[in-house]
């Protein structure tokens, strides 16, 4: 039996190169922000207790920020990809 291969044929996606590059760029940006967060927690845990916004400390603001950043970057990525697919796969 043919065990592999996609479940369906979607035709050639001419935007796939653009989407892959965009994905990698965004991934690198998020990696840097995440790595800085881990580094701060590891080497300056006391600094994370500094109040930075509306009575909230850096640990909470940065942590929540990482979650919100993931959502915002996801939405931007989807919009850019959809636009590219509409333009390039006409």
């Amino acid at each position: 039996m043919a065990g592999h291969g996609p479940a369906a044929d979607w035709g050639e996606d001419k935007a796939s190169g653009y989407k892959a590059r965009l994905g990698i760029y965004l991934f690198i940006v998020y990696c840097v922000v995440y790595a800085a967060f881990v580094a701060l927690n590891t080497f300056s845990p006391k600094m994370m207790g500094m109040i930075v916004f509306s009575g909230l400390n850096l640990a909470v603001v940065y942590g929540m920020g990482l979650i919100i950043l993931a959502i915002i970057m996801g939405v931007i990525y989807n919009q850019k990809c959809t636009k590219a697919e509409d333009l390039m796969n006409k």
Binding site: M1, G23, F43, P45
Partner: protein, 691 residues
Amino acid sequence: MIYDASIFAVIIFVMFVIAVLGISKYFASKTKSSAGYYAAGGQIHWAVNGIAFAGDYLSAASFLGICGMIAFFGYDGFLYSIGYLAGWVVALFVVAEPLKKAGKYTFTDALDNRFNSKAIQLMAAISTLIVSVCYLIPQMVGAGALITPLLGMPHYVGVILVGGIVIFIVATAGMASTTYVQFIKGGLLIFFSTVLTISLFVNGYKLKPDANYHEFITLSVASENGQVTSVADGYTIASQNSDLGVVKLNSPESKELWKLQLNGKVLVKAHSTSGIRLDAIIKNGQVTSVSDGYTIVGLDSKTGLVELLAPPVQTWWQLQDEGKTLIEAPSVVVLENGDELYNGAPKSERKFYQVGHMSKIIVDGKEVEETGPLGPFAFLETITNSEVILFTKNVFHDGADKVTVWKHTPTKGERIMRPGLKFHLDENSTGWDKTNFISLMLALFLGTSALPHILIRYYTVPSPKDARKSTIVAIASIGFFYVLTLFMGLGAMTHGVLDLGSSNMSAPLLAKFFGIFLFSCISAIAFATVLGTVSGLIVAASGAVAHDLISNFAGVNLSDANQVKAGKISAVVVGLIAIVLGILFKGMNVSFLVGLAFAVAASANLPAIMMVIFWKKTSAIGVASSIFVGMTTALAIILTSPSMYAQYGLDPLTAPSPLGQPGIISIPLAFITLVVFSLLFPSKDAKPMPN
């Protein structure tokens, strides 16, 4: 702790199970093909699939484990939420679309798409099975832990119940029913967690969480050099541990009324439902002696009541106020004969109370008794400025008894809301402590997009575009839920609901604080969380056996109908194994096992997935050897780590590996292995990744 089964919770639970079985029966009638069984026909709407992703992902570890960890250790538990969510970025930006384009039913398909290699099929299937089983064990253990408060049944009944229902779900309709169960569960979990969080905001903080909260007794004492010399109020000193500042006291004498039962052979406590019995010896119709250290004070022949002098109850107390007072501290003592005493009494006497309160509430620089309703920012700001009593666990031996005492530890909110209470990161931490933390955060980041039961969900939607969109829905819903975990965890910490014996119960018990309806819904959903996640894992594992191993690797030519049959038989076998393991691993730390699954997945699968997608020179031997090296290295480090040595009952200091989290070594090693072996043994006829 003893939990009373709630009839309301039972009704909601039964209704949910009936609904789940109904969905399965409905989809069973529609599932005839292998595409239907393994990938729900690839026809699930992206929005439904996105919430189902959340259902898959928000397992017992996320809901029960993280909330419990925040409730006991503050911000450090929230670091798990951040790491788990960040992992979805890797899934969205790197993995989602290529994997959808390259695969059919399982992630082995996607890895093997360019090569058609027996080595990849074998290694990827083994890795899927190992990761799935590592992930299955904590889910089953969590099911057992939940069933006790929900239905008042023993642990093993919960495991068998979950196993039985899940086997039915998976063996009837596979991925379609699993998807809709996850969709409903994921949606309900997020909805009721939001309700719980809003209830917390409305309630605010109070120094005394509620009217029934335990009043901790304090006693005046005389002490010298940390040794207590005398105690007030009729208590006497039984023993003390001056290193820890804790003292075992004998309670003052107390008289109790008991009544004769079973033809005068036993005595049961009057006006009590504890069920404790004493053996009695009767001569000439009179009780002449009683067992268990009780002595007879008086008899009333009219009422049949016997007045007994109880033997002293031994409880543990904590020295405070520079040795001037003692405060009672919760304790569990395991006696030499194996019997357990909770706060000096058998479990059935229900003396092991719930805890968790604030010692100072500061609002606008002033101390207050309660805050009234708070907004989300004010909720976090208030706890940051206030002081909370954390209960710190101390385990030691008192003669032949193993004693666990939880000491009251007043902790500033500022300390709770930054890292370091669970992870050793302060100035006294070692290099290994910091390496362990970095390794954990790396495994959480890279583990998500390497979990087989998550990856197979990319095959249930019609197109790569839908795979991408469903991932974004997943990130938004899971991200929202993880924000809620911080509030729920801190709420459990301060609302007098903590069961010191089981951090996993923090979120359901917080729901109980706001009424039996919310508790019933949250508990039933928590149970459904386990059901759904176990279903997804069993589909992934059965796919690895039936599709990857039997059909592809062994080359057994199965018809479409027989592929489905093989999948269903595999699901039953894997389900039965999960039941056995769930019973055997009772009491093992749920979060620990999930962390293990993430580390193994990130080490075994992610380097292979990323390199197959992005490096043209990747070869079949490179992929297979990378999976093997990543998987075995991760397992070897974990199994020889200090935390596992403690689980084996050995001295953690003698563990060969100083690391508990393997990712920082095993993930780079898997990448290096793939590169080296791909260069040494290139695949000449490898295809490019599909566009």
